[in-house]
């Protein structure tokens, strides 16, 4: 009881301060305010399921994924999934964010006492929404820019998300200029990943740096990838026989060694199919580290862009 009174007072004080802040710079939060409904500091936003009410100024956010996104927006969540905390590019920024397990431990989330939860799949959403206001942004459904726009609106941080987009576009343009002439205008680029018993080709809506290659640098995907994966599915499974159809003139190759994919990769590299790929013949195969290229948040994408640029420039 005492605690909730304290939280209420704190919220009251906060909303007062924010209101004052807004008076000084009315343009700053104009868009966010237009959606404010005024009842208890809640506002209506849009997630994957439609309209949903969330606190206008959430203080304790538990997010299954999107930690890199949130940090970019200037928000530090209080809890996230274990895998997010393993992201090498944000390792130094996640101190104090609590681990909620490999699948969200509901009790842990309750314990963190969140005022907003960002879920990434429907099953978890259905359980987490019992704890606090929850929004659903499905993992792998949107590309990173759309995710940032959604999160910006949901969290009232449109300014920060616009700022990031401008910065990212500038960096992308610079990388594009640096790489001018390296990859021919008609050359295709693809991302291949080898598991112990599967081969995947990735698009621009998942990890492995696809958004950078196709959206930022504007490289062309092979026809089959373009038709089936780009802006559509996050990835597609292919057989060794269809590999030539999805292999571009440039290949970014990752290997999932945890299940023995490295052995399979060695086998595949010895096969005639692999050896006859144009990218292999010309030496245009670039190995990427799955630990680094697993994530696709704003922070990771920028770092990945640097790595991709270096690889293509042969540095």
């Amino acid at each position: 009881m005492k605690k909730s009174l304290f939280v209420f007072c704190a919220l009251l004080l906060m909303s007062f301060l924010v209101a004052c802040g807004n008076q000084k710079s009315p343009s700053e939060n104009a868009q966010g305010d237009s959606q404010t409904e005024g009842n208890g500091g809640m506002r209506t936003v849009t997630d994957d399921l439609g309209k949903v009410k969330v606190p206008s100024h959430p203080k304790r956010i538990v997010s299954m994924y999107y930690v890199g996104h949130l940090l970019t927006l200037g928000i530090k969540p209080v809890g996230t999934l274990s895998s997010e905390l393993d992201n090498p590019f944000i390792k130094d920024k996640v101190k104090g964010i609590e681990d909620i397990g490999s699948t969200p431990s509901l009790e842990k989330v309750v314990d963190l006492d969140p005022d907003l939860i960002i879920a990434s799949d429907k099953e978890s959403y259905d359980k987490l929404k019992k704890i606090a206001p929850t929004v659903l942004i499905e993992y792998g459904k949107h590309n990173v820019v759309d995710e940032m726009k959604m999160l910006g609106k949901i969290l009232g941080k449109e300014k920060q998300s616009d700022q990031w987009l401008a910065d990212f576009n500038a960096k992308g343009q610079k990388a594009k200029d640096d790489l001018k002439g390296v990859v021919g205008p008609n050359d295709t680029v693809s991302i291949i990943e080898i598991w112990s018993n599967k081969i995947y080709v990735y698009g621009n809506k998942w990890g492995r740096g696809g958004y950078n290659l196709y959206n930022v640098l504007g490289f062309k995907p092979p026809q089959l990838v373009k038709e089936n994966v780009i802006d559509n599915k996050p990835y597609m499974e292919v057989s060794l026989e269809t590999l030539p159809k999805v292999a571009g003139d440039y290949i970014f190759l990752s290997v999932y060694s945890a299940d023995g994919g490295d052995k399979r990769a060695d086998e595949i590299k010895k096969s005639d199919i692999w050896k006859s790929l144009p990218a292999v013949k010309k030496g245009h195969v670039y190995n990427i580290n799955l630990d680094q290229f697993f994530y696709f948040d704003p922070i990771s994408l920028e770092k990945q862009l640097e790595i991709q640029e270096k690889l293509l420039l042969g540095k």
Partner: protein, 339 residues
Amino acid sequence: MRKILTLRRHPLLVMGVLFFLLIIAFLICLNTGVAKLTVTEAIRTLAGMGSDKDNLILFEFRLPRMVIALLVGAGLAVSGAVLQAITKNEMADPGILGINAGAGLAVILFIFFAHSSLTDIGTLSVYLMPVFALLGAILAATLIYIFAWKRGITPVRLVLVGIGVNAAFNAIIIIFQVKMNPEDFMQATIWLSGSIWGADWRFVLGILPWIILLIPVVLIKYRSLNVMNMGDKIATGLGVKVEKERMILLLLSVALAGACVAVAGNIAFLGLAVPHLARKLVGAEHQVTIPTAALLGALVLLLADMVSKNLMAPSEIPVGLVVSVIAAPYFIYLLMRSN
């Protein structure tokens, strides 16, 4: 040994002790978890005076899981006890005979075609899944029966054919798993190794009717179980219609296993070890073996789920793995001793 012998003359005492232990374990489970809840808070919450947060933890997250563990543990144990009696084989269990695999395959197929994703399971599906699991389990049992039939069923052939059917169903499950995308594949793997993550009251309602209806029916049939345990010839001599009774009991066992697999995945070894232990404690008189096995099964799975939830918290280990780690050594001990 002498102690166990004297215990056998007091099955009610054994059951009383088990029931008492079950209550203790239940109370401990109520109070353990990532979210801290003291004993008094738990009791206050149970009495309906808890805070919203405590209510949420206890009634939405902890209790449904515990109830599922109790029901599934009892169901699998009774299913195993029946199978062991009608096959006269201490190694028989719904997991080994391919009945769990049949149920598992049906659920995987159902999810694969009805949802194309394991992540979005609707309310209707929660009630339909036990039915599908049952159909799969019955299919497996029918196949075992057909292949093992040679002018009647001999228990040994039943077990051997069952192992073959198990392998076949598992192979088909793998085929479908390979066709799934990586996330569904991971989820299917966790589910297949036995997990009650995210169990809620809908799942409890989905399995409850099966358990509370079928276990009493098995109990009513205790005479058939007792004489069948002595061997077909004696049973026939005592006037039991062996084939018919065996079929009915097999169906009961299959239905129990199917319902359990539908909500908790394939939890192996529980149906094998628990009935065995129950017989050791109270003997093979099934009017006492069955209730003892049910209590013991519920206790084991409740404790195993507590371990699975807390050992690596906040991450979870599938409860099926925990049960295997506890029960597999017992299985090996049985094998070594039977030589």
